[in-house]
């Protein structure tokens, strides 16, 4: 048990951290296999950033242990730093330098030979769509461009494990999609990505495994599919024009429940055509007019609310 299995990129055991009285991490355990994307999902203050700060050697833990690529964080921080790349929540670029100079600075700090460094920087500028802005100071960049430059700087050193702390927070939808594409490309090259996010969609899109963090503990862990299965949240939402139709429909569909304060009815359903047709034919038989119909399959939002809605939820194993 002295070392983590070699194919493990990150292993965390019983990690604890408090700031004064405030407990931020309360015995966190997780394992990330090499070459996969792990997403830590949680609301603000759940302990996501603290986890990244500890795993990237920026902060010390109060208890527990963690290894990154087999190197113990406490005893071999230098070896950890040599293996990782970090793109934090707050941009870590030099605003006074141009995008290209920022990247060249990284190349110099990684001791790339001059020519190799320049070639690599040119390639990253192309890949991150920053060629036109390369000679402009980073202070003139938009939020999305800064974030791309930030990640490009992280990649100059060819890290094997990449930490992305809320990589798309505050970005517009287009920039967010661009970021997702970049992360997917990264993973295809075999690196391990540890990503924190408060967007369920993001975890769903990118992660192989998702850990739901709540009050410093993992309350659930699994693939997006496994997590969705935990929550029977699928339903059909029917909206009616008047209270009479609503009451008629409620009588016709015995498993339904009202949406508080609206003229809408929630009917459990797996979202399949057969169950949908059954609902509609019952309403048809009684000539009840439906103004609007929508089908909702359970998403991670439901999982998240179901798991973190009640404080002190037990960890669900899948």
């Amino acid at each position: 048990m002295a070392t983590a299995p070699p194919e493990t990129a990150i292993s965390v055991t019983g990690l604890r951290k408090s700031f004064g009285e405030h407990v931020v991490l309360d015995g966190l355990d997780l394992t990330v296999p090499a070459g996969t994307v792990y997403s830590l999902l949680g609301a603000n203050g759940a302990g996501k950033s603290t986890t990244v700060r500890i795993l990237s050697t920026l902060a010390a833990s109060d208890g527990g242990s963690a290894r990154v690529r087999g190197h113990d964080l406490a005893s071999e921080p230098d070896a950890v730093r040599a293996a990782i790349g970090v793109t934090g929540q707050f941009s870590a670029v030099d605003s006074l330098l141009t995008g290209e100079e920022n990247l060249l600075l990284m190349a110099d700090l990684h001791h790339w030979p001059r020519r190799d460094g320049r070639r690599r920087v040119a390639e990253l500028l192309r890949r991150f769509d920053l060629v036109d802005a390369a000679r402009r100071p980073a202070s003139t960049y938009s939020g999305g461009m800064r974030r791309r430059l930030d990640l490009a700087m992280t990649l100059v050193g060819d890290p094997q494990v990449i930490f992305l702390d809320e990589p798309t927070t505050g970005l517009d939808p287009r920039s967010r999609r661009a970021m997702w594409r970049i992360v997917r490309e990264l993973v295809s090259t075999g690196v391990t990505v540890f990503l924190t996010t408060q967007y369920l969609e993001e975890a769903d899109e990118l992660a192989d495994r998702i850990g739901v963090l709540h009050h410093g503990r993992l309350v659930a862990e699994g693939t997006a599919e496994e997590l969705k299965r935990l929550v029977p949240g699928g339903h059909v939402l029917l909206r009616f024009a008047d209270p009479t139709s609503l009451e008629d429909a409620e009588r016709a569909l015995d498993t339904s429940s009202r949406e508080n304060g609206t003229l809408a009815l929630r009917v459990p359903s797996d979202g399949g055509l057969r169950s949908l047709r059954a609902v509609l034919s019952r309403l048809d038989d009684r000539s009840i007019e439906v103004e609007e119909l929508s089908v909702r399959t359970p998403d991670l939002d439901d999982v998240f609310l179901a798991l973190t809605g009640q404080p002190g939820a037990e960890k669900v194993s899948t």
Binding site: E7, L58, D78, V86, L96, L109, M153
Partner: protein
């Protein structure tokens, strides 16, 4: 267990540190900042020049009559005050150092450096080297203005070289102190205020008026604070006069300030920044 396949980890050679190379890289970064935004240097060098002109042309006539029995007046006072203004130039530059360190810390780029496998001290030495070069540019400008308005040092080549070397030592010491002050401040505003005493201390020394014209308590302070021997030493070197014990006292203070600043800076840099 022994046959378990392992991922190709970084070779031990990759874990070696390159403090000189990293420091050179970081110094280039700081010099680039300076060249790209020359206005920062101009603002920092502006203050001592304003004080020089103020003290020579506004107060110089009266103060000059006070410091000498002869008819020297203003022209004699230029000679007297320039060493203090040179020290003020250095103090003004290191105020810029504290500000740029604090800016780095608020920008988040320092967090990036902290997670990288680089010689940590290079982040600080980069600022130190950049600031020393900036201070010498400023000193050259201020000296130019001083010569224009009638400063006539008596030093020969040896005296000039000694002055340059001595001012380099002073700058080095104050820059390290300022690197710590920049880190200890949580904001850029604090960072610009904390080194203020460095700007004010020359007034409470032998820089602007001889200490024996001061009341007893103040005079005691002025004679024992580090800026008095520093100013007396530069004055002696520039005017080709013996510096006496002031030289050693000044160098002792500089060594103390540099070492203290360096150790304090290292400790601050190693500390955890909760955010």
């Amino acid at each position: 267990m022994g046959t378990a396949p392992s991922l190709p980890g970084p070779a031990p050679a990759a874990l070696r540190f390159h403090p000189l190379r990293d420091s050179a890289t970081m110094s280039r970064r700081n010099l680039r900042h300076m060249l790209r935004y020359p206005s920062t240097t101009l603002v920092l060098v502006g203050m001592p020049i304003v004080f020089l002109l103020l003290f020579v042309y506004v107060f110089g006539g009266a103060l000059g009559a006070g410091i000498s029995e002869g008819p020297g007046g203003r022209s004699e006072y230029v000679t007297y005050v320039v060493p203090a203004i040179l020290l003020m130039t250095i103090a003004s530059t290191v105020q810029g150092t504290a500000i740029s360190i604090a800016m780095d810390l608020t920008e988040g780029i320092i967090d990036r450096f902290r997670t990288m496998h680089i010689a940590r001290v290079s982040v600080l030495t980069g600022h130190v080297v950049g600031s020393v070069i900036q201070a010498f540019l400023s000193l050259a400008i201020v000296m130019g203005v001083a010569l224009l308005i009638g400063f006539r040092p008596g030093a020969g080549l040896g005296g000039w070289l000694a002055t340059t070397g001595f001012l380099a030592v002073v700058t080095f010491a104050l820059v390290w102190l300022s690197v710590a002050l920049g880190q200890v401040s949580r904001s850029v505003e604090t960072a610009s205020n904390l080194p203020m005493p460095l700007i004010l201390l020359p007034f409470l020394s032998s820089g602007f008026v001889p200490t024996d014209s001061m009341p007893a308590g103040l005079r005691w302070f002025a004679e024992y604070q580090p800026f008095t021997p520093i100013i007396e030493t530069s004055r002696g070197l520039l005017m080709d006069q013996p510096v006496g014990h002031h030289g050693w006292v000044a160098l002792g203070w500089c060594a103390l300030i540099a070492l203290g600043g360096y150790l304090w800076s290292r400790r601050l840099f190693g500390r955890e920044h909760p955010s």
